[in-house]
C-alpha cells in the first residue's frame, strides 16, 4: 500500500510553546486515519500545517511523494488536499451554493464544470433544497453538510476533517459516518481529528495520539486504546 500523505519530523513553535515536536506520520492511500489527543495537544495545528495555513519551522510535508512544504494553501487544495474546519466555518453572507461554487471556480476555472460539480456536491450532501439560502438559516447538521459539500466539490485525494462530529446528534453523527464511509469507498483518504472517540474508533483504520505536541502512539484503534501511555494521557492513570 502506498503512502499518500507524509509528515516528516514536523516541528512548529509559537514563541516559547512547541505546538508540534518532530511529529512524523504516514497516511496510506484509501485509509481513514484518526488523530486524537487531549486539548492543546497539537491536533488542529497539525491539520493547519498539512493544509498550509500555518508554516512549519522544521520538517517536510509530502503528498504522493511530492514535497509540498512550501506550497500555499490554495495550491495544496488544487493538488487534492481539502479541509473541513473546526466549528462549522462558512461564508455567512453568501448563499449555500456560492459557498460551494466559489471553491469549484477556484479549482476548475471553467464555469460549466464548476457549476456541474457544485450541483453534484450539493445533491450528495442533501443541500440542494437549501441552495439559495444563507447559511445562517441552516441547522448545525446542514452546516456540517455544507462543509462536506465544499470538500466534495474539490474532488480531493485526501480530506482533512477537524471534529466533524462536534455539535451533531447521534442520528446526525451516524449520517456523517455513512457519508465518510461512502466517499472513502470511492477512493477519498480521510484524516480525522476528533474528540468523540466512540465515532472515530468505529471508522478509523489507524489512529495516532498526540500529547503536548509529541506523537505518543500510533496503530489500530483497538491497540491504541490499550496503550498504557494513551490511558495515562486520557485518564491520568496508567
Amino acid at each position: 500500500m502506498s503512502e499518500i500523505l507524509g509528515c516528516e519530523k514536523v516541528t512548529k513553535k509559537f514563541g516559547g510553546l512547541t505546538a508540534l515536536n518532530e511529529v512524523s506520520l504516514s497516511v496510506v492511500k484509501g485509509e481513514i486515519f484518526g488523530i486524537i489527543g487531549p486539548n492543546g495537544s497539537g491536533k488542529t495545528t497539525l491539520l493547519n500545517v498539512i493544509a498550509g495555513l500555518i508554516r512549519l519551522d522544521e520538517g517536510r510535508i509530502l503528498l504522493d511523494g511530492r514535497d509540498i512544504t512550501k506550497l500555499k494553501p490554495h495550491e495544496r487544495v488544487k493538488l487534492g488536499i481539502a479541509r473541513m474546519f473546526q466549528g462549522m466555518r462558512v461564508f455567512p453572507y453568501l448563499p449555500v451554493y456560492l459557498n460551494v461554487e466559489l471553491v469549484a471556480r477556484s479549482i476548475y476555472g471553467d464555469v460549466r464544470l464548476a457549476r456541474a460539480r457544485t450541483s453534484w456536491a450539493l445533491t450528495m450532501s442533501g443541500l440542494l433544497p437549501e441552495a439559495g439560502e444563507l447559511p445562517i438559516r441552516l441547522t448545525p447538521y446542514k452546516l456540517r453538510m455544507l462543509e462536506f459539500a465544499r470538500i466534495l466539490v474539490s474532488n480531493p485525494k485526501i480530506a482533512l476533517l477537524d471534529e466533524p462530529f462536534a455539535g451533531l446528534t447521534p442520528d446526525e453523527a451516524e449520517a456523517m459516518i455513512g457519508l465518510i464511509r461512502k466517499f472513502n469507498s470511492l477512493g477519498v483518504t480521510f484524516v480525522i481529528v476528533e474528540h468523540k472517540l466512540r465515532y472515530l474508533m468505529r471508522i478509523a483504520n489507524r489512529v495516532a495520539v498526540l500529547n503536548q505536541g509529541v506523537k505518543i502512539a500510533e496503530g489500530r484503534p483497538e491497540d491504541v486504546v490499550r496503550n498504557p501511555q494513551v490511558i495515562e494521557v486520557y485518564l491520568g492513570v496508567s
Binding site: 495555513l53 494553501p73 490554495h74 487544495v77 479541509r83 451554493y97 466559489l102 450541483s119 474539490s154
Partner: protein, 339 residues
C-alpha cells in the same frame, strides 16, 4: 439544478432596472431643464465622486480592507495629468488618458505591499500615503515643480475648442460637455462595477472579507483576488481623478486631502450599505446634493448640520440605510407589477 442557478424572471429584471432607468433619464434630462451652471458643476462633481464611491465599495465594501488611500490615487491622477501637460506639453485630452495608468501603477506600487497587513493597521497605513503626498507637494524642492499650495495651472479639457465658439456659449459648452462626460463615466462605471461586484470574482472578494483564512484554505488564491480587486478599485479612483482634474484646473493639494476626496465617498459607502453598490451609489447623490442644498438654507452652518446628520444616521444604522430603503422600494414595485 433549476433551483440553484435559476435565471431571474422577466418581471424581476424589469423591476430591477426601472429605478436605474428612471435615475438615468432624470440625470440625462436635468440639464435641459435649465438648472443653472452652479448645479451643473455640482452634478458633474457628484457624477465623478460616484466613481470614487464605487472604488471604495468594490474593494473595501467587500473585503473589509479599508483602503483610505483612494484620495492619493485620485489626486495622483490629477497631478500626473498636470505634470504631463505642463512639463511635457502633452494636450490635456491625452495627458488625462496617460495619467490613468500612471496613477494606477503608483497606487499599486505604494499600497500593494500593505495588503499583507490586515484590519485597522491596513486602514491607518493607507491613510498615511495621501498625507505624506500632501507633505511632498507643499515642501521644497518638490513644491517648486508641483506648484505648492497654489497648484499647477494648465489648459482645462476642450478649452481650445471652446475658444473657437462664440463667447456667449463657451462656458455653457464646457459645463454641458463636462456634465455629460461625467454622467457617461458614472453610468459606464456603475454598470461595470455591478457586473464585477456580482460576478464570481466579486463573490470571491466577499469571501475574503467574510473569512480570509477559510477562503485561502478552501482553494481561493486570496492574494491574487485582493491584488486584482485593488487594481480595479485604483482604476476607478484614477479615472475619477483624471477627469475631475481635467475639468477643474489648477490641480492643488485639495485633490489629495482626505477630507475633500475621501470622506464624502466613504460616508456614501457607509450610509449606503457596504458592498451593495446600489446603496452607496444612491447615497452618493443624496448626500452630496443635500450638502450643497444646505448651503442655500443655512450657509456656513451646513458643515456642522451635515456632519451631525451623518453621525445620527451612522449611529442608528451603522450597516447603512439606503440599501434597505431601496430593497423595500423594490418590494413595493414588485407588488405593483404583480397586481
Amino acid at each position: 439544478m433549476s433551483v440553484v442557478f435559476a435565471k431571474r424572471s422577466a418581471k424581476d429584471l424589469i423591476v430591477g432596472k426601472i429605478p436605474f432607468l428612471i435615475a438615468l433619464a432624470v440625470l440625462t434630462l436635468l440639464p435641459l431643464l435649465n438648472v443653472g451652471g452652479f448645479w451643473l458643476d455640482v452634478l458633474t462633481k457628484v457624477n465623478l465622486f460616484l466613481l470614487v464611491t464605487l472604488a471604495i465599495d468594490l474593494y473595501s465594501g467587500t473585503t473589509y480592507y479599508l483602503n483610505l488611500g483612494v484620495s492619493f490615487t485620485f489626486g495622483f491622477a490629477g497631478y500626473s495629468l498636470a505634470l504631463l501637460n505642463v512639463y511635457y506639453g502633452i494636450p490635456t485630452e491625452y495627458s488625462m488618458l496617460l495619467a490613468i495608468p500612471i496613477s494606477i501603477f503608483f497606487s499599486l506600487a505604494i499600497l500593494l505591499p500593505s495588503l499583507k497587513i490586515r484590519g485597522v493597521y491596513f486602514a491607518i497605513l493607507s491613510l498615511l500615503v495621501p498625507i505624506i503626498f500632501v507633505g511632498i507637494v507643499t515642501a521644497q524642492p518638490f513644491s517648486l515643480y508641483l506648484g505648492g499650495e497654489g497648484g499647477l495651472r494648465f489648459k482645462q479639457l476642450f478649452l481650445d475648442f471652446a475658444r473657437s465658439l462664440p463667447p456667449g456659449v463657451r462656458l455653457t459648452f464646457l459645463q454641458y460637455s463636462y456634465y455629460y462626460i461625467s454622467l457617461a463615466a458614472a453610468v459606464v462605471g456603475y454598470v461595470i462595477a455591478y457586473k464585477i461586484g456580482f460576478s464570481d470574482f466579486g463573490f470571491m472578494l466577499r469571501a475574503v472579507g467574510q473569512d480570509e483564512e477559510l477562503a485561502e484554505g478552501t482553494g481561493i488564491n486570496t492574494l491574487k483576488v485582493k491584488v486584482i480587486g485593488f487594481l480595479i478599485s485604483s482604476a476607478y479612483a484614477s479615472v475619477a481623478g483624471a477627469l475631475y482634474a481635467s475639468m477643474r484646473p489648477p490641480v492643488t493639494v485639495d485633490l489629495v486631502v482626505p477630507a475633500n476626496t475621501l470622506i464624502p465617498p466613504l460616508t456614501s459607502v457607509i450610509v449606503g450599505g457596504l458592498g451593495t453598490l446600489i446603496g452607496p451609489a444612491i447615497a452618493n447623490y443624496l448626500l452630496l446634493l443635500t450638502y450643497e442644498l444646505l448651503w442655500g438654507l443655512i450657509g456656513r452652518w451646513r458643515v456642522i448640520a451635515y456632519m451631525l446628520l451623518l453621525i445620527i444616521i451612522i449611529t442608528i444604522k451603522p450597516q447603512g440605510i439606503v440599501f434597505k430603503a431601496y430593497v423595500e422600494a423594490r418590494k413595493f414595485l414588485r407588488g405593483v407589477f404583480s397586481e
